[in-house]
Amino acid sequence: MVIYGVALLSFCMLIGVFLGDILGELIGVQANVGGVGIAMLMLIMLSNLSHRKFTLRPMTESGIGFWSAMYIPIVVAMAAKQNVIAAVSSGWLAVIAGVAAVAASFAMIPVLARFGKGHGRDQ
């Protein structure tokens, strides 16, 4: 049933966010540390495991697939609710700091990607 897939997704997310909050508490920061990432890992493990040990019914999978497909529309809604005014109207310092941080980070991607691949070949 579709709800099994949705529920499975919910369990993964709730457990992940819970662990992320605990992790944040443990290291003493006021933030969730990787909660969504942990949830994603759990789901990836489950979906990779399922090929061998157990299989999800197609209907169950479609409960997860629906939310995966809703990702882009949700991101569009997220874009439409951003505080764009605050981003562009609070003066040059904020804009320059933001732009420079993005430019520097973009520039680092090819560097790190090459490093990572080279590292993999050495092993």
């Binding site: 540390v33 529309p73 310092l93 933001g98």
Partner: protein, 256 residues
């Protein structure tokens, strides 16, 4: 006529989340038409949809006067729920279904490494801009540097260090600028920086760190890369909140 339009408005307001689904559906449809007809598919439909969303958020901020973009405009309150953190994270987790575990394992180390590099790099850049604008106290410099990481790391750091509210507001604005720019800029630079495989997407997520920026940027570039970038990005804010008010602040204090 008055009765009909009043009733219609009431229905849309009462069912705000459903209204948001319809509204975003139209927005995405229009965007894909523009992509097809005007750019002949050169610019991805979702990139146009996200840019239109941001433009609407600006319009909404001007007319609604709030801080939630178009979601502050009467009938469209549901857009705030649909685009809120709960649904966003739920959909991000769903994209992980069927992702390649081996790609994750291979990039595990460099992915984790990229998060730390990303936080430190953005912090240094933001702090340097703060210094260039005449800030001389370690607390303000660190708060603005932290804001250049994400708009959550900024206020968390500022609050922890006791920065002024004007500086905290600046740090949030710096983080917002970053997130908007990552959404719009990613599809433009993607081919030049080699962002076309799970490996570089993991690194991209770790370096950029802004969950909404990465989510939007990858959606507009190649939705298949979303789970990899989102995975590392979700650790970034936590690492930033850990490093900025502690190690990085101490480094700044030692320097000024």
């Amino acid at each position: 006529m008055g009765v009909i339009s009043d009733t219609f408005t009431a229905v849309l307001t009462k069912n705000s989340l459903v209204t948001a689904f319809a509204f975003v559906g139209i927005l995405v449809w229009v965007s894909y038409r523009i992509s097809d007809k005007l750019t002949r598919g050169h610019i991805h439909g979702s990139a146009i949809a996200i840019t239109l969303g941001l433009a609407l958020a600006y319009v909404g901020g001007v007319t609604g006067g709030g801080d939630k973009g178009i979601a502050d405009v009467g009938l469209l309150g549901g857009v705030g729920i649909m685009g809120g953190a709960m649904f966003r994270d739920f959909a991000i987790v769903a994209t992980a279904f069927g992702a390649d575990l081996d790609a994750l394992k291979k990039a595990g180390f460099v992915g984790a490494f990229s998060i730390v590099i990303g936080v430190v790099l953005s912090f240094i850049v933001g702090a340097a801009v703060a210094v260039a604008f005449g800030y001389t106290d370690a607390v303000s410099i660190s708060t603005i540097g932290a804001g250049a990481a994400t708009y959550i790391v900024g206020p968390v750091t500022g609050t922890a260090l006791g920065a002024g509210s004007d500086v905290i507001a600046l740090s949030i604005a710096a983080g917002l600028t970053k997130s908007v720019l990552v959404m719009v800029g990613t599809p433009i630079v993607a081919s030049r920086i080699g962002l076309n495989n799970p490996h570089s997407a993991l690194i991209y997520g770790g370096l950029m760190g802004t969950t909404s920026g990465v989510a939007g940027g990858l959606a507009a570039t190649d939705p298949k890369l979303v789970p990899y970038g989102a995975m590392t990005a979700t650790f970034y804010t936590g690492v930033g909140c850990l490093l900025a008010p502690s190690v990085l602040f101490l480094c700044v204090s030692a320097l000024v």
